[in-house]
């Protein structure tokens, strides 16, 4: 899917460890992620996929090792600058994390307002991203009235709204049927084609097989293997 040799790394992990009291969640992880790469992190539940993603957006700190994002050692980012750093990412979760009391419009508006967008640009951007994910007609609906697939599409739209450089998707199709999963995956690939770096954590090998790309296999917090899968269909 991507020619790694010609692209510089946007994320670099050197001998990263994450330890919770006496349990090792991640052990000696060394991985490079190229700019505009579509990378899978695969492994069974408890392998450390979510922990790895959390370390990238500073949801948690590594216990040992070094992580560089966009050339910056993230351990040195001061607490005050973390919000600015996180704006590089669009994060998608398995459970969507939409606010049920807010409409689709307001769920996305919140993110835009939080990142300092003002005025007419907000409704314009919301309509544009909802059009991209095919949810423009659901703009005034509340998340509980949408299907799982639709909610995840709104979550994708929310992640795309701020035009992030990097998309982190944690089991984004985990709760979806095959059809909805396909739609969400296509959206992520579209975003990758437009130039973003996508890191997708999943235990669904079928998804990886269909999409193709580099896969970091985790087990018990360790990198078991890094493999390359040719896609069934080239996007």
């Amino acid at each position: 899917m991507v020619n790694l040799q010609k692209k510089s790394s946007i994320i670099r992990l050197f001998h990263v460890y994450k330890t919770y009291s006496d349990k090792n969640a991640l052990v000696d992880i060394t991985v490079d992620v190229a700019q505009n790469e579509f990378l899978f992190i695969s492994g069974p539940s408890g392998a450390g996929k979510t922990t790895l993603l959390k370390l990238l957006y500073l949801g948690q700190y590594a216990s040992q090792g070094q992580i560089l994002v966009d050339g910056v050692n993230i351990a040195r980012i001061s607490k005050k600058k973390i919000p600015l750093f996180r704006r590089k990412f669009g994060i998608i979760f398995q459970d969507y994390k939409l606010i049920p009391q807010k409409t689709v419009y307001h769920n996305i508006a919140l993110v835009l307002e939080a990142t300092g967008k003002k005025g007419r640009i907000i409704p314009q951007k919301i309509r544009s991203v909802l059009r991209t994910v095919g949810m423009e007609d659901r703009i005034d609906m509340y998340p509980p009235s949408l299907s799982g697939g639709e909610q995840q599409r709104v979550a994708v739209a929310r992640a795309l709204a701020t035009d992030p450089k990097i998309i982190l998707a944690d089991e984004p199709t985990g709760n979806l049927d095959i059809q909805s999963a396909g739609i969400v995956l296509k959206l992520l690939i579209q975003f990758y084609i437009r130039g973003a770096t996508v890191i997708l954590a999943t235990h669904n090998l079928e998804l990886i097989r269909k999409t193709g790309g580099r896969v970091v296999h985790l087990k018990d917090g360790k990198v078991q293997a890094i493999t390359w899968h040719e896609p069934i269909r080239d996007f």
Binding site: Y57, R87, F89, I99, A114, T115
Partner: protein, 294 residues
Amino acid sequence: MFLFVKRAFKDILENSFVSSITIVIIGLIILIISTFLLFLDNAAGAISDWKSGIRIMVYLQPGTNAIDFSKVKKNIQEINLVNKVRFISKEEALAILRKQLNRQGSLLDNLKENPLPDAFDVQVASNFRRKGPDLDEIEAVALKIESIPGVQQVEYGQKWIERFSAVFDLFRLVGLATAGLFVMAGIFIIANTIRLVLYARQDELEIMRLVGASEWFIKTPFYIQAIIQGGLGAFAGMMVLYFGYQYLNTSDQQGLSFINIHFLSMNTCLSIMIASMILGWLGCYLSLKQFLRK
């Protein structure tokens, strides 16, 4: 900032039940504290009035002649803080006594001679224009007068005022301590209310943090919300107090007719309002500090 204020009002309306409970509780706390302040303010005014009405009665030795009177008067007038000195002859004193005894005044008819001494009525001024002299000032003046030749005895309502002032001071101390406890209770109530709202909006806050919302963006609406609640609570509490005060003032409250009760000054009301808003802010600060640390 307009966006934050809008969000704060929206949050108050969305969590109307919890918000109204907070406002009512703040209102009650402010009502209790303001009532106490109103009492203290009026009691302090009454004591000050009584103090300013204090006279030192200077009784002269029997047989003092007119030349000695004027010497004693001159000596008294020279004492610092002495405001007015009025001579009361023993005849005038007897007439006053007769008037005070009213019907029993005829008892005095059988007296062969006037037993009352000549005296001076001395009024003490204060160092400060607005309040009456303090007890130390009165005592100092009384001691100086006592040492003047020709003076037999000096009298003033020292013990009564001392006792009343001591009770008043004790009351003020207990009241301030109680008010302090109420303020602390208020802070914790607000902190807990905000915490409830924070728990209810945990997902929203998490999302905001994940997308890179600054701490300022997350916290400001909560602070505004707490300040609004503090302000509304104070307003409600003081309105209740004002209506209570109006009721006392307009209806025939015989027992209170001897005291001229006045309401808290505009400055005090504003100070209470601001203090209540700070109370709200502080409660919010504690809550956010603990919650967002997670």
